[in-house]
Amino acid sequence: MVDFFRGRKWDLVGLRNLWFAISLLIIIPGLFFWVTQGLNYGIDFTGGGLVTYQFAEPVRAGQETAALARVRGAVDKAGVQGQIQLAGTAARTDQLLVRTRVEPKAGQDADSVLSQQRASMRPALEAAFPGITEVAGEMVSPVVSEELIKNAIWSVVAGCVFILFWIRLRYLTFQWSGTALIALVHDVLVLIGVFAMTRKEVNSPFVAAALTVVGYSVHDTIVIFDRIRENLRLRKGNTFAETANISLLETMPRSVNTVLTTELVLVSLFLFGGVSLRDFAFAMMVGITVGAYSSIFNAAQLLVVLKNREGRKMALKRAPGRPMREVAGRAPVRQPRSLKPVAQAPAQAPSAASEEAEDEEEGAEAAVVQERDAAPGPRRKLKAGRKRKRRF
């Protein structure tokens, strides 16, 4: 199991449109589901009551529908309106969840309503399933659930703002922090989309998972950005796009390994953890995978797009027809711009160097020409208006 990635000359940057397309392909259906069907909110956000029962004997596979029917009968007999659900670990289904709405009338509060519901459900359930025990009860009143919703939204916003400014602080421009943020938002959207499609419950732990995923995905992105920054400084001979690609490939082993180790742990939690841990683990599994994807396939590529646009804008400012000597991107660390060869560790760019970076998205007319320092080979100049074919 030695380096799988060594020497691979993949062009991750060049294929960026493909990655963007894939991202949209995942996000858009998710958003559609979210908008039309909404999320399956837990009682933390809807208010209400949740009672957990433990069966004396686990429900065997295949018997679930029958068991649910019996539960429904018992609950109806108790005069309680509620959603019922079977739960348990992956191995055994031995718990029952009953969610109820609590609508207090004047003079009653939500808690006494729930207590009454529980008191009336208990005998009916005990008759249908001897030995069943009530193991947990939760009640969240509307006052509190409104606050929880507000806090959830604010916490995500605060997290994103913090990241935006921290990266700005360390990487000096909003270009870098902005693209990181977009990658983050992408992750959160995918996570929400997945939960909208799978109808899994969205509760306070989901928000915690989302924020943790945000922190983690940024973790990934920063490692890549750090490498890009370093390569921009040390390897001056490449365009921004090339540097980005090199950096991506160099950090690939680390990114993949970290995701793998974290996923190992999460899968274990998902399989062996109890009910509440399962949903949390699922959210994190999805989130971390998407986070890694967005860091590797979206963040750097977005930066390339921005830099190209910036390069084009700068190129347009010059008079057309004159050779240009702009580097198609700026290193965020201020360094004296030198055109002399820089003596340093030999460049080992795994990807073949291409001399120009082109922004093909909008059929740019102006091409940005790059001067290669210290390397042998003819300088290539481009007359204005000519497009150069891409080479790898």
């Binding site: 003079g107 990241i163 973790h219 950090t251 680390r254 390994n257 399989l271 062996f272």
Partner: protein, 564 residues
Amino acid sequence: MQARTRWWLIGIITLVILSLLGVFEPIKFRDRRDPDSGQAVRPRKRLGPIRVYRPHLGITLGLDLRGGSHLVLQAQAQGLFEFSAPELSKPMSEEEQTDLYAEIVNLLPPDKIGTAKREVQLRGDRIVVQARLAPDTDVKQQGNTIKGLLTTRFPQVEMKRAERQEITRDNLQSIQAIIERRVNAYGVTEPVIQRQLPDRLIVELPGIKDPEKAKQLIRQTAVLELRHVPRKYGFGDRGPEVTEVAGERVFTFRDPTGKEVLTSQVIDESPVIVTGRDLKATSRVVSVAGRPTAVTFELQSDAAKTFEGFTRSHVKHYLAVVLDGKMITCPVIKSTIRQQGVIEGGFDKPGGLEEARDLSILLNAGALPFDLEYVENRTVSAQLGKDALVKSLYAGLVGLVAVLLFMLLYYRLPGLLADVALLMYCVLLLGAIKLVNQVLTLPGILAVILSIGMAVDANVIIFERLKEEMRTGKTMRSAVEAAFKRAWAAILDSNVCSIGTGFVLFYFGSGPIKGFAVALILGVAVSLFTAVTVTRLFVNLVMATSLASNVALFGVSPREVEGT
């Protein structure tokens, strides 16, 4: 080995040992206490002041792992209204006053005002009404509603005051004190009662056996009132009939014509003479064979004077003892009562002793100045908690083993080092959690397990870097230096972001989520620490041996190294 390296090694090992001691508590200088019962646990051996115990998990567990109730109470706002009317200034006899009081009370049924409870008092020439504010109602609106109801009898009524009684910090503090007294008297170990401004209290009852009962006790307003039953409903031998229905005492009152009157109405029309606020906290249960179980009470001096005067002039009248609007007993006044009295009757049924005890607790703790309502309630049985704990620990262990194996297989020698570092990390993390006395909740365990998966990351960054540096043909030593230096920037930035989101979660999150956030922050912080110190230490140690020159052990094929 270098002196510096040796010191680092000693330091790290000391930390690990301290953590193990702190977390598993095999040796203590003080008694270990069982968290649920509060009793001291017997040590295995005693060596002077040192006690040796069987190792156990010495971290405080949260309610979702231990079983118990987490309750949030909110104090309900009240409105205070004062009305004046010319009819009230006329001099009248006591009979007329009592009748007037009854009229006013009947004009203002609670649901017409929009609440469940209201209190009416005649003070001099003012009618004072205290009512729970209906949600989303303006105080003035409610006041006008009341005024409208009063106009039918008092056409020239004026509203003199309509105030919203806000809960002040002092109020909240006194409510907290009252609830603490109740909970302590009830015998719950290690309860946690915290204020949450502006108007909430968080009550945590770990290991509680009967949560419903405890909830009742905590929340009960416990307003005790001794009210004067109007003469028309009871006098001398003509008093209420008392019957037992399903273990409850039922009082039946009749008006002069013989028609039955609702007890609640009787209570309503009975003006209050003395309330629980006038009591001293000396109430006790008296249970003597041959005599009915009773709850004693003692009045404070000025109230005692008023009460004495009242009872002296109202012999043969009936006194309604009402707790939270429910009639407990209704004795007839036989003689002057000055300071002490007993409440008896109704406690001799099964469960009556407990009721009497609860009543004395409530009387001694004091009545709540504001109504409290539960807005959040999370109760977990001990069985479920233990179940969740076992499952999550098992899952964590499996995950840990998987990661250890993976690192070993992929990174070989550095992987082994990372594994040992990871195990130390786990111990140090637990030590950190114990150090800050963080309560470990289920999400907290999740954060710990997650951190284990992520802690490897710093090592991975360093080792990947090390491989690259080795490939450039540097000497081992300079490769290591360069690797650590360059890797640090990335590690720092990314972990700062993780810590940042952890703080955001801590600030905005509710109880269990706060536990998650703290564990996550600690996890990241300790992983930063071990990445810099422990991993570096190991690499330095290995470098001192001959293994260092064999780059293959690090996963780099010699062919790749430049210059060879």
